[in-house]
């Protein structure tokens, strides 16, 4: 079984400040990790993903995340946030199921609130 914990339900930050959204996972198989962003009343959009290779993954909108296997973490970071980054962020983990369907498990989400 796999699970995802997003440690912060809400992260307030001032514009142009750095931000880190935390994600820890548990899984008994090799994992694939994802971060999604959701703007109000919209679907989720893939920010970045870790499948294999370099543990530092760069995504869209200046976000990056680092896969840390020993700490079972996949924290999302951005060095300088904008007002437009205000949104809900979801971490997800997937591994191979018996049917090979790679169905991910999502965290409960972190609301990033950027203040001017």
């Amino acid at each position: 079984a796999q699970s995802v914990t997003q440690l912060d339900s809400q992260v307030p930050v001032f514009e142009e400040a750095p931000v880190e959204l935390r994600c820890n996972y548990s899984s008994s198989v090799s994992v694939y990790l994802f971060w999604y962003v959701q703007y109000p009343n919209q679907g989720l959009q893939l920010l970045l993903k870790y499948l294999s290779g370099s543990t530092l993954v760069k995504g869209i909108n200046g976000f990056e995340a680092e896969f840390n296997k020993s700490q079972t973490s996949f924290h999302l970071r951005k060095p300088s946030v904008h007002i437009s980054d205000t949104a809900e962020y979801f971490c997800a983990v997937s591994g191979t199921t018996s049917g090979g369907s790679y169905i991910p498990t999502f965290g409960r989400g972190t609301s990033l609130i950027v203040h001017p």
């Binding site: 919209q42 499948l51 169905i103």
Partner: protein, 113 residues
């Protein structure tokens, strides 16, 4: 390029009425298709997924059902809505048997009154 369409965007339905939400994908074949429900502050709950026409897997027992009558069409239905069916419903797809992220539709906000 691939696109996913989901409609309607919003829906207000009385308790006991039927429901039909539709999702279609363009620009790909044999996608894996998914229906999720999102309740406020509770993340995403997988309702159904399908790996092929007529193949539906249900993740949770509930008042809803799903069908896949065509390769790129996924329908979420209910015969009689409950108040607890209110929520934000999201359709998603990904390439079959490949690891990678989902592409989500824009969602349907369902309010049962």
């Amino acid at each position: 390029s691939q696109t996913i369409h989901q409609w309607p965007a919003t829906l207000v339905q009385p308790v006991g009425s039927p429901l039909s939400l539709e999702c279609t994908v363009e620009g790909t074949s044999n996608p894996n298709l998914y229906w999720y429900r999102q309740a406020a502050g509770r993340g995403l709950q997988l309702l159904f997924y399908s790996v092929g026409i007529g193949q539906i897997s249900s993740e949770v027992p509930q008042n809803l059902s799903a069908s896949r009558p065509q390769d790129r069409q996924f329908i979420l239905s209910s015969k009689k809505l409950l108040l607890s069916d209110s929520g934000f419903y999201l359709c998603a797809w990904k390439k079959a048997l490949l690891q990678g992220g989902y592409t989500f539709g824009s969602g349907t906000r369902l309010t049962v009154v």
